[in-house]
């Protein structure tokens, strides 16, 4: 077990109103090299869990342990190692890259601050390698991200996260803002990288079809609680909880015959 999240809770201050509790006793584990999907609707707390896993916010209760590090209280060398080994990719390809840095500076920043490559030339070489690996042209290294498309930006974001060889990559809705025709490229890239680098991927999404495609293990969240978790086959083939069932039933299918049949069946069910 690489990371364990043990019954964490989190509330947000809404003064003068009473605080809003967004996570209730959430527990889940991540093994090395596995892809795990956190799915839920808006307000399910999935992004809050991702932020806790990245130590961007601290839960009030519970514990998060990564490879022997107490994440919530980590300091100094321990925190530095955690920051090197757990990385993330965000939803918004426009807001997630500093517009005042070149592609080289963006991707090379991790190498620089973790002192992984001593010289600028060596860093540059590593940046070129990783750009090539994620399907970017290394000649674009000196450009700013302004002129890149959403899909290319997500590749840059992935390269920036992966260049320091993390062991966990947390992806918060990484394809939700992309065009349909580009979405598949990024999903395939993530899948590819996971296999090549033996990376654990935590994939936060509202789109169950994408999660089904990418993740072996699924955690279904609803109103800050884990409703159901299990393997892909369990969740999609034989969901036990009514919430999971209703969620799956509502996903539209790009096939008129199957789609109409699914909707007709569902309406019949609700009518009864």
């Amino acid at each position: 077990m690489l990371m364990s999240i043990d019954s964490i809770s989190k509330s947000y201050n809404a003064f003068p109103n009473p605080p809003a509790k967004v996570l209730h006793d959430v527990t889940l584990n991540i093994d090395a090299g596995e892809a795990i999907g956190l799915v839920g609707e808006s307000g399910s707390g999935k992004s809050t869990i991702a932020k806790c896993m990245l130590a961007l916010i601290k839960p009030e209760d519970g514990a998060i342990t990564y490879d022997g590090i107490d994440v919530i209280h980590a300091k100094g060398e321990e925190l530095r190692r955690f920051r090197r080994e757990v990385q993330m990719v965000f939803q918004d390809p426009y807001g997630s890259l500093n517009p005042r840095m070149t592609v080289e500076e963006l991707i090379g920043e991790g190498l620089l601050i973790h002192k992984l490559e001593p010289t600028a030339a060596a860093r540059r070489k590593r940046v070129a390698e990783i750009m090539d690996m994620v399907g970017l042209n290394p000649n674009d290294m000196d450009r700013y991200t302004r002129s890149f498309s959403g899909g290319q930006r997500q590749r840059i974001a992935i390269a920036r996260a992966l260049v320091i060889r993390p062991r966990i990559l947390v992806c918060d809705e990484p394809v939700a803002a992309l065009d349909v025709s580009v979405q598949a490229q990024v999903i395939n890239l993530l899948q590819d990288m996971q296999k090549k680098l033996n990376l654990a991927i935590v994939f936060v999404a509202h789109d169950l079809a994408v999660v089904r495609h990418l993740c072996e293990k699924i955690v279904v969240l609803h109103k800050g609680k884990v409703v159901e978790q299990g393997s892909r086959d369990e969740i999609f083939g034989n969901p036990r909880m009514p919430y999971t069932q209703s969620l799956l039933a509502a996903v539209p299918v790009p096939d008129p015959v199957a789609g109409r049949a699914r909707r007709a069946a569902r309406r019949l069910e609700t009518a009864n």
């Binding site: 932020k51 990245l54 961007l56 925190l79 530095r80 920051r83 090197r84 757990v86 990385q87 993330m88 965000f90 939803q91 918004d92 426009y94 807001g95 997630s96 890259l97 500093n98 517009p99 005042r100 840095m101 920043e109 991790g110 601050i113 973790h114 302004r146 002129s147 890149f148 498309s149 974001a157 920036r160 320091i164």
Partner: protein
């Protein structure tokens, strides 16, 4: 999903309109006058020549002469340096204070942020010119006092605005990305947050020069700023105040100089703002 999204890729450079070129020329001309004016002016304007006092505008004295018989036009040229230099000094000083406080507030712990912002609230709630007047009067009426007084009362708007923008920038995903990467607080603020927050300030800076010229002239007029025989424009108006009905040019000319300078820098600020964000066009 709207088709006209993608501002990044459709951004285009546009040429300058005639109006914009006019404003740029005006600002540059003012700066040139401020820098070189005193070297060009004839020595005679520093001495009084009572025989020629309060002469109306003529070929020899374009804007006429004042009560001391000095040429009004050349005194304006010489005064431009004092006026603009003081304004630049004031804006630079309070911008430095504002930027420092905003950065500390944005980067620091919550209690420090709260504390600094309450102090800023106090500064914002008080009438700035009156407090500056008090400081300048207490320190002994002089141009130096007025500059210091304006610098210590001018920073709250900058601090409040910049701190707000920095907090917004810190909400941007790329800042969380840098934190996840493990960058130090110093690098986070200087490399990621500040560069992406400062450009609003640059817009404000141009407009602030215009406002500062106005307030400085007001303080001099009230009597706590530059003192006669300084050629600073506000002091010039104050000195000429009694002659408005007998020699209107002694009052109109320096006031127009203040107005033109303040309007020119104000317009410069507007132009930069519209260039940064074309959706504001026409505002």
């Amino acid at each position: 999903m709207t088709a006209i999204a993608q501002p990044a890729t459709t951004r285009r450079k546009e040429g300058f309109s005639a109006f914009e070129i006019f404003v740029f020329t005006l600002v540059i001309a003012l700066l040139v006058i401020a820098v070189f004016g005193p070297f060009l002016a004839p020595d005679s304007i520093y001495n009084s020549d009572i025989a020629n006092s309060l002469m109306p505008p003529s070929a020899a004295n374009w804007f006429g002469t004042d009560d001391q018989g000095r040429d009004v036009f050349w005194r304006l040229i010489v005064g431009a340096q004092t006026t603009l230099l003081s304004a630049f000094l004031v804006v630079t000083l309070y911008s430095l204070i504002g930027v420092t406080l905003a950065t500390v507030a944005a980067a620091g712990p919550r209690w420090l942020d709260e504390g600094l912002m309450r102090i800023t609230d106090i500064g914002l709630a008080l009438p700035g010119m009156i407090v500056a007047l008090g400081f300048a009067a207490a320190m002994g009426a002089s141009l130096r006092s007025a500059i210091i007084a304006m610098a210590i009362t001018g920073w709250p708007i900058t601090a409040r605005m910049l701190r707000g923008i920095m907090r917004q920038t810190m909400e941007q995903p790329f800042v969380a990305g840098a934190q996840v990467l493990g960058v130090s607080k110093w690098r986070l603020m200087t490399k990621h947050v500040l560069p992406n927050s400062l450009d609003v300030l640059i817009v404000k800076w141009a407009g602030d020069i215009g406002t500062t010229v106005l307030v400085l002239a007001s303080l001099s007029f009230i009597g706590v700023g530059a003192q006669p025989p300084s050629a600073e424009w506000g002091a010039t108006i104050a000195a000429a105040r009694g002659y408005v009905s007998t020699a209107w040019w002694t009052v109109v000319a320096p006031g127009a100089a203040v107005a033109i300078t303040s309007i020119a820098f104000g317009l410069l600020g507007d132009i930069i703002q519209v260039r940064r964000d074309p959706s504001l066009r026409g505002n």
